[in-house]
Symmetry: C2
Subunit: 119 residues, 2 copies
């Protein structure tokens, strides 16, 4: 049976409500806010507008019972932003879900990869 | 802490290649082909055009080393289609991945749900 070199991977999102999901994009945005201390810089690194990045952060702040990011409206620099301790825990839970699911699904993912046609 | 009645749920897709994923939509389409014996009827039940449904089936038939659906070009009725035994196995693997991931992530999903704001 022909084998594909690339393995099948999971991509998952958590539907927190029917309308609001936490997925790879929002998780990456939180990490980049943590790294850069700025919503605009985090969004820029991901090729999104400040408004888009801010809307995603705002959606997360509203869906949870504590804020995940605290932002200060600033001047020309756009102000600073920090991932809260709660935001750090949310992010860690999401990354752990990704990890545990990848492990739980490993055998089935291998089976699917083994049955993919050669490139 | 306020609890939300709705539990957080996982939505996952398997990236078979960087471009082709098997997710909830394709899985449902395969099930509906199995139930209806028709790609057009399956697509219609999901509100998609025959072309869209056929393109999705075609993508799956190409990405795997065996077809998941066999279709006969028909007349006015659009021909019939069957899920192959291989397609049945692919579908079962996907559903099992969903199930095992939901179980593996249950504690983290409960934590996230418990920290969602009241509606």
């Amino acid at each position: 049976m022909p084998k594909k070199s690339a393995a099948s991977r999971l991509r998952l999102r958590v539907l927190l409500t029917p309308d609001i999901a936490l997925g790879p994009g929002k998780a990456e945005l939180l990490e980049r806010v943590q790294d850069t201390g700025s919503i605009s810089a985090a969004g820029r690194q991901m090729g999104m507008s400040y408004k888009r990045a801010w809307d995603l952060v705002d959606a997360m702040n509203r869906v949870f019972d504590e804020p995940v990011v605290l932002a200060s409206k600033g001047g020309s620099g756009g102000g600073g932003a920090v991932l809260t301790p709660f935001g750090t825990r949310v992010l860690a839970r999401y990354r752990r879900i990704e990890q545990t699911c990848a492990e739980a699904a490993a055998a089935d993912l291998r089976w699917l990869s083994a049955h993919c046609a050669s490139p």
